[in-house]
């Protein structure tokens, strides 16, 4: 019994170490940082300018052929989505602080520099397209919805009520950009609360606004480095931190970093699995042979 137990123990321990080999490496390796492409585009949303008129919501639906999400209080029809959903790629929410102060907030895909959704998608149905826009390819998507669980902003949505569903999320109106246009929400905004442009220009614009009017703004550009950086940037009013606007506190590490460095470490060049396979093959062979000999001896 005891030699057996020892060898099994060893086996379990080595299997576990193998699975864990990624851990120390992942911690030791320098952080993987992706940079946006040189021609990256983005949006800058300045919450202090937004008046909550919903023009962008309406125009987004129009430009993307999305149906209204009807709520019907007291007989009247409203296009009143309560959050991003399969009919809504862009929405304006109202947040209220404890001190009673309010702020509007625009939600859509953040077009992350290192997107979690694209990292997890098995066959890159979600991927970074030209100018860093995160695109969805209906011909590849299998509808596993891993992108939905992985996205820290809860952006990709699913058509729950149809037999042939799609994943729905903002693609920065890439069909309009291709024709030399700008995103519909930007074109619709009467207050220039959301503007479109090159990512670098937007970044310095955002920082410039804070520098010029430090009393007016919360002293941080959300998306500059958050979660590895996003191509959609936010400015908030002084005293209203981004957490109040529903933006998660992700730190500066790209969201897929831990997961990818771990898998890369274990499956690097496929060496560990092949080695393990070799060891297992040998062990099985040895056991098989000794058993054969044993059976032969009994006869």
């Amino acid at each position: 019994m005891s030699p057996t137990r020892r060898s099994v123990l060893k086996g379990i321990a080595s299997a576990a170490t193998l699975a864990a080999t990624g851990v120390p490496k992942a911690i030791a390796s320098p952080p993987r940082r992706k940079t946006p492409p040189a021609d990256a585009v983005g949006l800058l949303y300045d919450a202090t300018r937004c008046i909550g008129c919903q023009a962008c919501v309406v125009k987004c639906k129009e430009a993307n052929g999305l149906p209204p999400d009807t709520g019907t209080p007291r007989g009247a029809m409203y296009d009143a989505p309560d959050d991003l959903n399969a009919k809504t790629k862009n929405i304006i929410k109202l947040y209220k602080g404890e001190d009673g102060r309010t702020s509007f907030m625009k939600a859509q895909c953040m077009h992350c520099v290192d997107p979690a959704c694209a990292s997890v998608c098995m066959i890159s149905a979600l991927h970074k397209g030209p100018r860093g826009i995160v695109e969805w390819d209906p011909d590849k998507c299998v509808g596993c919805r891993y992108c939905m669980t992985a996205c820290p902003f809860n952006v990709p949505k699913y058509e729950w009520n149809t037999a042939f569903p799609k994943i729905v999320k903002c693609e920065m109106c890439r069909h309009l950009l291709a024709k030399g246009g700008i995103p519909a929400c930007v074109a619709a905004c009467p207050r220039e609360a959301v503007i479109f442009g090159g990512l670098e220009t937007l970044r310095s614009d955002a920082k410039g606004r804070i520098a010029r009017e430090p009393k007016k703004y919360f002293p941080k550009v959300y998306g500059d480095t958050d979660g590895g950086g996003t191509q959609v940037l936010y400015l908030s009013a002084a005293g209203i931190p981004f957490g109040k606007l529903g933006l998660p506190d992700l730190g500066d590490d790209p969201v897929p970093e831990l997961s990818e460095s771990l898998t890369h470490a274990v499956y690097q060049g496929f060496i560990a699995p092949v080695a393990l396979y070799g060891i297992l093959g040998f062990a099985v062979y040895r056991s098989w042979r000794s058993q054969r000999l044993g059976e032969g001896g009994e006869k």
């Binding site: 019994m1 057996t4 137990r5 060898s7 099994v8 123990l9 379990i12 299997a15 576990a16 699975a19 864990a20 990624g22 851990v23 992942a26 911690i27 991003l84 959903n85 979690a116 694209a118 990292s119 997890v120 098995m122 066959i123 890159s124 590849k140 998507c141 299998v142 509808g143 596993c144 891993y146 939905m148 669980t149 992985a150 820290p152 809860n154 949505k157 699913y158 058509e159 729950w160 009520n161 037999a163 569903p165 799609k166 529903g246 969201v255 831990l258 997961s259 771990l262 898998t263 499956y267 699995p273 396979y277 093959g281 062990a283 099985v284 062979y285 056991s287 098989w288 058993q291 044993g294």
Partner: protein, 402 residues
Amino acid sequence: MNPHASAVSGPILTRFFKVCLAVFAMCILVLAWRFVVGLGPTTGMNDGFPWGIWIAFDVVIGTALACGGFSVAILCYAFNNGKYHPLIRPAVLTSALGYSLAGASVIVDLGRYWNVWRIPLLWNWNRNSVLLEVAICIMTYVVVLWIELSPAFLEVWEKQEKFPLLCRAARRVHGWLNRYLIAILALGILLPTMHQSSLGSLMLIMVSKLHKLWHTPLLPVLFLSTAILMGYAAVIFESALADEVFDRPRETKLLASMSGIMVVVLFFFLGVRLVDLALRGRLGLIARLDFYSMMFLLEMVLFLAPALLLLSRKRRENPGIELISAIMMMLAGSLYRFDTFLVGFNPGPGWSYFPTIPEMMVTIGFVAFEVLAYLFIVKQFPILHTGLPSQTFGAVTPKSSV
């Protein structure tokens, strides 16, 4: 003929069998509905909780409970020179059934299932995707499991002198199989090692959504060890059940020595879990006594209890205690995995998930199908061990109504 195994005799269409058939038929109806109207009306899933029990239970827990083939194979082939041989075939059968049904669940769950044929195509692969690794591994493993099990079928078919063609084909395949069996058996250990740990890695990316009591870089290690545990436990549970139902002698000695190994894995799991939390300063979360810490504590109790129960050799050899510990281990591992995928998952305020009745019916129906297939195969093919060599099992079981 495999000297260890023989087919159980007895009628197939028992009352129990018919009940299972009815349950399965209901599940098929629900599925038809699901494919017409989509996932929204049929399930409790939503934009905040896009993964429900078909993933968390059918796949994440189901495949681990179906890991008996893997767990016993590790011992049997890699470390124990065939000591656990009598347990291998039933374990591989449950594995093959469990994994096949997990595969079916995935297809049912996929929104755009008509695109799945693209997944195996190498040039489409996104190598960063953990799910890709899981998918490819599980697909391959299902094939491997049925190949591993195929000698049980071939042994029967090559004796069917009435059908010379089948007979000859079976012999040819069997011969071919014997030559490559080692490579396949090794694959049968490698693949679960990879995808069972990767099931844990699936949650690594959810840094901001998975509760800190469950999110850790060690998820792959914890998932691999629970797979081994749950696999062993399911083998014990199932063999106790089969021995009871088919009135066979218990394999207590064999199982007892397996239980001894499980104690080690149990303490390994508990150690890794607690030390990891301690090192990363998260032990305080346990003391909060909120819903999450309660779930965590429940997990700990379920892991600790069988570890202590099985500590003494005398208790290990007691079939009752062994069975109770096995059930607790299955619960412990299941709860741990359930917590990691659903309970500890928080997409933000305002979202909640509870499975609908149709959704549960699909899961139950799949389990019913598994039981049906198990009974059918066990009665037709040499799967279960024959216990004492003197006993002939062909004649036993008039008692059983299953």
